[in-house]
Symmetry: C2
Subunit: 474 residues, 2 copies
């Protein structure tokens, strides 16, 4: 898997730092069976869902406790060797790739739900707990954790990339839903940020500095999250439209009216087709909004009435209801599998996923031209969107062996990002920067802000061992 | 006002840095009438609502633009002289006090609402705009800005302290409601953080690092905020209880049930008496919850039914409704003036206000003992609370000339803070640290986390010129 590919020129060219045998020996001694240099294990930890291939990390440590994390980081720090935290490997922008070599620190075995405080609507978990596992664990309390990026990602990974997903339009993102953290710093020290209190003005917001830092400032070893009461009533529906513009304008009006919709997802007709084939569904292959409403029975009814009237004014068909909880699960599973449905539609392809997010009034401006451009470029793609937030993904489905297709996809992505920035938006709504979007971040934030990020990085990780080569060039 | 007072020992002992005459001359030259060394002007900029007295700043610059701010900071940086941003002077923990001398940078003239994007529910303002001014400016759009710390604070100050107030239980705090900033850094450089997009995973969250940094990392010169549609229906009511415990338990149950209450404020009977006298009201002088409900007419009705039933189970009297918008304004104005009502209740006194915030289930544990302790200490106080968030304020009303009373109040505060920390809470829900709570922050966050804050400060402000001597000791 590490043969040269057309995407190689997109990988940052940095000197791989030598990992001394003495470090490997010490790690072996300290971690025993929790340590591996086997190629298969390293390769499994040296890739994510991106198109990039990089030499795998030199070794993998399977941490089972905060102390394990601290010891591994301390040993790596002694030798100034990179440490790359690893959850389930579902990131999309090269976040996990060992671009400078080093140790992959797998926290997936740190998967205990440590404390459920149902009376406070909070829970504390280890970073390897996945979102589905968490929701299983809290089910009996009548509470749930809404953030849902599609993949059954680890909560550590979701923190690291400031993930969001389908429910964010109502419940916010990881930014709004992490209360407190335990973090192992670049020197191996264990610190705590935040408390279980709902709000605080006590000093710098280290919690939110860590959330979205992509493993470059430390390793999260405990995460305290907000939970929410399961809504009394849930209704889900799909609504199809004659054109993308109609579906997008419906979304814009729903948000502008302040409807507290819980999910508002767009798929274009082409993507509905992929989803139908992958998930054996029979949805009309035209632009589609998938929606969910949470609240009291009366409240949900009010939301539905408002949204139906907006949709109908925009030429939407009547709602198709997912009446049972099984129907709802089927619908959302299909939506979540859109990424895989896309990949399956072109065997052997890889997806380059865009991730812009714009102010809601600019959504049509941001989205419609991108679709025309992709059509004109004759490149296959899927289109899904958390459109209630102004966030959508074009997934260009490229042949990873074709330099031409890669170039076309990157050119489309670049154009799309610069359009979003010009509309007051961001290059990344939820996937993060990794190394793939470093130039986009620079265009978005400017040298001054990125220099501030660099200064923070250098202050907190002076030897640049925490996931180096990501977010910005040092 | 700068004679020695019993509170002096609480002021950090730092060397005042000399402000060279050449700097004053250059500032005078650059800023003309926007520059002052008049004692009255300096004294007005050398105090806040805290009990502390410190020598006033050496000079005041009235900035009228971002460029003014940048130039003032650059000149101060050349001479390594402190710069203390100043809004309206309503902070409570010594934030604005020139503990190391230097220049007060008054941004109150930067009071333009720069851009209202009603279609995106966002607005961009200069830092001197106050929250009331903002709400006047956006009134005609059908939108409002909910964060309401009581005082008509400047939005720059509210950002700096991560303010919240009565509406935070539903709408969040400044942490959740600031989308983007323009910031003048410690070197005078102008940078931008964030965009108008609702969410982003693009790099470190500099916006939230600045929010709550109390002027120690830079000066905010533009602020982009979220707005909300004015609720279709608003209802406000008061409900009185036989005991504080009943009122607190009602609150806990309201939150645990997930009622989206917009305001849920507690006053004890003693404070209701102060408010009655100050605001010429006639509320029953027993523990009181003041509540407000926002939503659709049906939604508000549902909330009210639920809350009435919880209150009644806890022995609450029937709701007294504030039926008209004038009645509501009178009720909330009275609540907002509780601080001044407290001060007025004891002529010549100053208030030491506590600010702990705990997980909601621990609110009774955090609050009830504090009241008993204050009663036992025979110190007059007011008690108000944003109890829906687990946040409350005891305002100890002390004679500023009495070392004994100061000592008693500080001892009560210390005990109260350590109780809140033991319950999983924070020493500051919304007022910030200033210099008064530096030791509390250390107890709460631990040396490791405070060292991380120090490292960030040193990286971003290497000469320690931005509001030095606040949040932590360097």
């Amino acid at each position: 898997m590490n043969a040269a590919t057309p995407a190689d020129h997109l990988v940052p060219q940095a000197t791989t730092r030598a990992v001394p045998q003495s470090l490997l020996d010490t790690l072996k001694q300290r971690f025993g069976a929790q340590f591996s240099v086997a190629l298969a294990v390293r390769e499994q930890h040296g890739r994510d869902e991106s198109v990039f291939t990089v030499a795998p990390p030199d070794a993998v440590v399977f941490a089972e406790s905060t102390l394990d994390v601290s010891d591994a980081v301390k040993l790596a720090a002694l030798h100034r060797v990179p440490v790359i935290p690893f959850g389930v490997g579902s990131s999309l922008e090269g976040h996990l790739l060992a671009v400078q070599g080093g140790i992959s620190l797998d926290v997936s075995r740190m998967n205990r739900v440590l404390q459920i405080d149902a009376d406070d609507l909070t829970v504390t978990v280890q970073p390897g707990v996945t979102r589905k596992q968490l929701n299983e664990a809290v089910k009996s309390t009548g509470l749930f954790f809404p953030i849902d990026p599609g993949a059954d990602a680890s909560l550590g990974g979701m923190c690291a990339t400031r993930a969001s997903g389908t429910n964010a339009v109502r419940y916010g993102t990881m930014r709004e839903n992490v209360l407190a953290l335990e973090v192992v710093t670049a020197s191996g020290e264990i610190i705590r940020t935040g408390t279980r209190a709902k709000k605080s003005s006590a000093g710098y917001d280290l919690t939110r500095l860590m959330v979205g830092s992509e493993g470059t400032l430390g390793v999260m070893t405990e995460i305290t999250l907000k939970l929410y009461p399961l809504p009394e009533a849930v209704m889900a529906a799909s609504c199809s439209f004659a054109s993308l513009a109609d579906a997008v304008n419906t979304t814009i009006q729903i948000i502008q009216l302040g409807v507290p919709i819980a999910r508002c997802e767009l798929l274009d007709g082409n993507t509905v087709g992929m989803v139908n084939r992958h998930s054996k569904l029979n949805l009309p292959e035209t632009p589609l909004l998938l929606m969910e409403f949470h609240g009291s029975p009366e409240g949900v009814k009010e939301q539905v009435t408002t949204v139906q009237s907006i949709a109908s004014e925009n030429g939407g068909n009547s709602f198709e209801w997912a009446l049972t909880s099984e129907d709802r699960t089927r619908l959302w599973t299909a939506r979540h599998n859109a990424y895989f449905a896309g990949l399956q539609s072109r065997p052997g392809c890889r997806a380059i996923s865009t991730d812009t997010c714009v102010p809601i009034s600019r959504l049509a401006d941001a989205l419609l031209d991108c679709v025309e451009e992709a059509n004109a470029a004759e490149i296959p793609y899927f289109l899904v969107g958390h459109v209630g937030d102004g966030n959508f993904h074009m997934g260009y489905l490229i042949d990873p062996e074709s330099p031409k297709e890669l170039q076309v996809a990157e050119a489309l992505n670049t154009k799309l990002v610069h359009r979003a920035l010009a509309l007051g938006g961001t290059c990344s709504g939820e996937h993060g920067v990794g190394f793939h979007k470093m130039d986009f971040l620079l265009s978005e934030a400017g040298t001054g802000a990125v220099d501030m990020m660099r200064a923070i990085k250098q202050a907190l990780d002076p030897h640049n061992i925490m996931n180096p080569g990501k977010i910005f060039r040092l």
